[in-house]
Symmetry: C2
Subunit: 445 residues, 2 copies
């Protein structure tokens, strides 16, 4: 019987996933179907013998039909919709793979998925995904060698390559869902630092970054990412002193992004008034104290204690926020408008190459001595479609789907890829695709 894979969502992160599946499908005689709300989007990513369909999870009966004819479903649609896909997968008895964080609702399907002998594998992309797998590989090695891990820190970022877009002071462009970039960090970040629980609210997040220096790759900033605490249990690290997962950006990004956060430009909770008539300048001015200065620039400088030619103003200027250009949207929330303005300059050009950087630091004790290992992954994109982001998010899912169809994954229920059965073969094949973490021992001075 021909095995059938259904890929839902033909966005920025699906290209390499689909290409890989198509290539493998010829070897293994699989059929691959690509579904998206936009049939055109599905069509544009479907290659070779792939089938493209229109797929809208709000249309339950057609969604059910599409899922029924698959063996494995890979969902790349927005994370909050995975629960509806999962419910159908349960009813139709299909495996489900995603690159998204496990929500409480997803977690609640665990028992039923086990009962029905189904794998609901989540957090199997880049971050979350390769970070879990590469971390668990080192953690298992350290344990097997009798070491005790005291500290784990991990930062990942989707950036742009040094040779790309050289005048862009942010050193950043949209390589994944722009909405998620704009909303990143909302809520409270939780982690453990030298035995102390730490909580960083959104309003402090981009002020409280960690400087990270990666040999050969330069200086970065890492800000804490969501709830690191829950991975203490997931990784089996009871008693660890420091546990911190975060997001990596080039130097200077956080201070400039913090201006948007402080102004309220990333708020998605209300529709602004008069958007149709608004210019980029008006948008920023709306969030500033009318009495704090004469010009928009003066107000910003005063309110945030900035230098006129400082790095924050340089980034805002480059992004066009001081232009009298119309925004070009009829309506929107602050977050939607911010995304729209940023996208005018942060949209990938055909010759842009992106760069994914992942960095872990493990500090552990072995035979009474403290040791430190740092692991680094650097992946470079080919072009605006086959980005490093698309490859590092898509390949782990594709490989996991293959292993599952080959009967090589016995795990069932709602899980993330922390078990050797999954991470070992996935990391091994990623290596053959040029995606690899390099470890080096750091000797204390």
């Amino acid at each position: 019987m021909v095995s059938s894979i259904l890929v839902l969502g033909a966005g920025r992160s699906s290209s390499s996933l689909i290409s890989y599946l198509e290539e493998e499908s010829q070897k293994f005689n699989w059929s691959v179907t690509v579904g998206d709300v936009s049939f055109a989007a599905a069509r544009s990513l479907a290659v070779g013998n792939d089938k493209a369909i229109q797929f809208d999870i709000r249309d339950v009966e057609n969604s059910r039909k599409a899922i029924r004819s698959a063996d494995v479903v890979i969902s790349m649609i927005p994370a909050h919709l995975h629960v509806q896909v999962a419910a159908l997968c349960l009813q139709e008895k299909k495996h489900l793979l995603t690159a998204s964080y496990v929500s409480d609702e997803m977690k609640s399907f665990d028992d039923q998925a086990r009962e029905k002998n189904l794998l609901f594998l989540n957090e199997c992309g880049l971050d979350p995904g390769i970070d879990h797998m590469s971390a668990m590989k080192m953690i298992d090695i350290i344990k097997e060698e009798g070491g005790v891990l005291h500290s784990f820190e991990s930062f990942t970022g989707g950036l742009i390559a040094p040779e790309t877009d050289r005048e862009n002071p942010w050193r950043y462009k949209f390589t994944w869902n722009p909405r998620n970039v704009v909303m990143a960090g909302q809520g409270t970040s939780k982690f453990l630092q030298e035995g102390q629980y730490k909580y960083i609210p959104y309003q402090q997040l981009f002020k409280r970054f960690t400087p990270i220096s990666i040999p050969e790759y330069g200086e970065y900033e890492g800000y804490a990412n969501r709830d690191s605490l829950k991975y203490i249990e997931t990784y089996g690290l009871h008693g660890i002193q420091t546990m911190l997962r975060g997001t990596l950006r080039f130097n200077g990004f956080c201070a400039a992004w913090d201006i948007f956060v402080q102004l309220g430009c990333t708020d998605d909770s209300y529709a602004m008034e008069g958007v149709g008539r608004m210019t980029h300048r008006d948008f920023i001015d709306t969030f500033l104290d009318r009495n704090s200065g004469k010009s928009l620039e003066e107000k910003l400088l005063r309110q945030f204690h900035l230098q006129p030619d400082g790095p924050e103003m340089q980034r805002l200027t480059w992004s066009g926020f001081f232009e009298k250009e119309k925004i070009g949207l009829p309506q929107g929330t602050p977050a939607q408008i911010l995304e729209h303005i940023l996208n005018k300059k942060w949209n990938l050009h055909p010759d842009d190459k992106d760069l994914v950087v992942m960095w872990h630091r493990f500090v552990y004790e072995k035979k009474g001595k403290e040791k430190e290992i740092q692991s680094t992954l650097v992946a470079r994109g080919e072009n605006r479609v086959h980005t490093a982001m698309a490859k590092t998010v898509g390949f782990p899912l594709a490989i996991a789907a293959k292993l599952l169809l080959q009967g090589k994954i016995k795990e069932r229920g709602v899980v993330i890829p922390t078990m050797k059965e999954i991470y070992q073969p996935v990391l091994q094949e990623l290596k053959s695709l040029g995606i690899e973490l390099r470890e080096r021992e750091v000797v204390a001075n």
Copy 2:
């Protein structure tokens, strides 16, 4: 037939409401019933012939019975529960009065309430309440005299009297629901300033206050309150240039409170770890960057650019945040813990007197000339039970209930007290109770 009034909720703001109703009930032969989740709380506020009952809105059938036997229901329970009360009032065909903001759900009952000839009067306490009524009175006068209002600003605060608790640097204590004080300002504040829409996110709110000087009463700070924009329509002020409603605090309050906001101490979205073992110092330390200093004090000073003996540190010190005292809660969100610590010093003492201050400024044009009127209300509490807060929140509701039972309010549906039929008799009776706004014309220099 004896008219029957049911008061739900026997919290801090219900005392004067219930006393007033009891006094009037003897004149008008009403029966008054006080219901609360805690029967003891209901019992303690029920006076004279009042009946006390246990009332829990989660127990739908007993709630229905209690509501069925009333003619008018006055709901003082937490605002998010009003919708459930309203649904029962609709089914049982009873009028409903509250001092809370009209939620979208409450608004959606408008048609049904009208159809059933019911009044669902909301925002009929102090703020919202007396502020609406006193504003509409002036707005109607200005209009009737041919004036055109350009600017309306209104600030109200529940403070403590100058002679009370003189060493308390905050000049503030809990005189209404402490939880609402701790959570105040979350979300985005929206207003109109000189023709420009303005939005202030929570993280800027306590930095962006307006200095307000009230003759004879000193210097205050006003921070913007929720959505002022929606009252442009409600007040009939289409074309107005400035529309701002806000909250009043004594000088220095906002900068100190902002420390809590910035740290994340007012976050109610997650339960903290290890609360049982935590001291006041630990609580604050949890939100600070571990690497920013040696002591808790040093970290705070550095992170927020404070002076060791400055007004912010003085307030935090007075409130005991640097004490090694156990918090005394087994668990809690940051907001719950903050409330608990603050309450150790901000709980009203028997001899404390509170102070309610309301201030409006109207700028309008009449016969080609710009004019300005400021109105001020100052009300002083009698003691810790019959506070100025309880009187100014409760009396308007009680008076409205009386007018309704007397057939003097014809208005029906979900409304707020902006119509003359309601505000005129309510303000008139409030005046006889010593609660009155005094207007003065301000002549430009």
